[in-house]
């Protein structure tokens, strides 16, 4: 009987993908904490939180790039440059907070390095860190999209069982 086999295989694929992301250091145990908040009363909690993270992160990345374009030269000590670096620091703290809360470990670590460069008004260091941050964020986003697609497919595949089980249960009740 092949009913349900698809769901099991998809579940195994999901577990393999997660194991890979943990092994690569892309995610940490905080992602498991996030998953534990999901239950039958909030079945889409993880995907909702991650969607918000994607939306907010892209706004932050756009702001960070705009701010860096406004800063001229390394170790900019003038008033305006200091203001931009201050705003960069605020954005990075926000990014660090949200990434650490969903377990996005590599994204958070790059934010730390970025903030260090920003604290020293090191524009080149900041630009390198921003490129790395965009790269890590894109990788994370692609992999989590893959994970949620597998999850959706698994739900659909498992749904094929329900009519069979419901039919069998009714036969048992009525006999």
């Amino acid at each position: 009987m092949l009913v349900g086999f698809g769901a099991e295989r998809l579940g195994a694929d999901m577990n393999r993908l997660l194991a890979l992301l943990f092994h690569q250091g892309v995610l940490d145990e905080q992602f498991l904490q996030l998953q534990q908040l999901e239950d039958e009363t909030s079945p889409n909690f993880v995907s909702e939180v991650v969607s918000i993270f994607f939306h907010e992160s892209e706004k932050l990345l756009t702001s960070l790039r705009s701010l860096l374009m406004m800063v001229e030269g390394d170790h900019d000590q003038d008033h305006e440059g200091g203001l931009e670096y201050g705003k960069i620091g605020v954005h990075l703290n926000q990014f660090m907070g949200s990434s650490s809360s969903i377990g996005a470990k590599r994204v958070r670590n790059v934010c730390l390095a970025f903030r260090a460069a920003s604290d020293h008004h090191n524009r080149h260091g900041c630009l390198r860190a921003l490129e790395q941050l965009e790269h890590e964020y894109c990788y994370l986003k692609n992999k989590l999209h893959e994970f949620f697609q597998l999850e959706q497919q698994k739900v659909l595949a498992a749904g094929v069982r329900y009519p069979m089980n419901h039919y069998n249960n009714n036969i048992n009740i009525n006999s």
Binding site: Q33, L37, V49, I52, V90, Q94, G97, S100, S101, I102
Partner: protein, 131 residues
């Protein structure tokens, strides 16, 4: 529900103050799963306004960097108003932890927030027995 030592059983109420939508959602879910009543504020001013309007909480979880009014200023104002509830700072900005604590916090923990980090400020659930 949590026993508060009186003859009444009142829900344990926590105020989550954070401008980050993700963190408000996660922290609220984390606490709601424990049967705790949660209210949220998006910045320090909202937290102060809630108290001015007469709200009270058994615990306040306060982010540091927020627009309009940050966590330090909000904590100072709440203490100035006579709020004695535990106010626990929750911050990713470790370098500013000392200054944040000096504003009147009971404690300060690093993000990500976990229940174990604030367990000391959450009461044990009641045993639901009648005495």
């Amino acid at each position: 529900m949590y026993q508060n030592g009186s003859t009444e059983t009142t829900p344990f109420r926590v105020l989550v103050v954070d401008d980050d939508r993700i963190l408000r959602k996660m922290h609220k879910m984390m606490l709601t799963r424990l049967g705790i009543e949660v209210e949220v504020a998006v910045n320090g001013k909202e937290a102060v306004d809630l108290h001015l309007a007469g709200a009270s909480f058994h615990l306040v979880l306060m982010d540091l960097q927020m627009p309009v009014m940050d966590g330090s200023q909000a904590t100072k104002e709440l203490r100035g108003m006579g709020v004695t509830s535990p106010i626990v700072g929750v911050t990713a900005a470790c370098a500013e932890k000392a200054a944040f604590l000096a504003s009147g916090l009971t404690d300060c923990v690093s993000k990500p927030l976990t229940i174990s980090k604030i367990a000391n400020y959450l009461p044990a659930p009641s045993n639901h027995t009648n005495n």
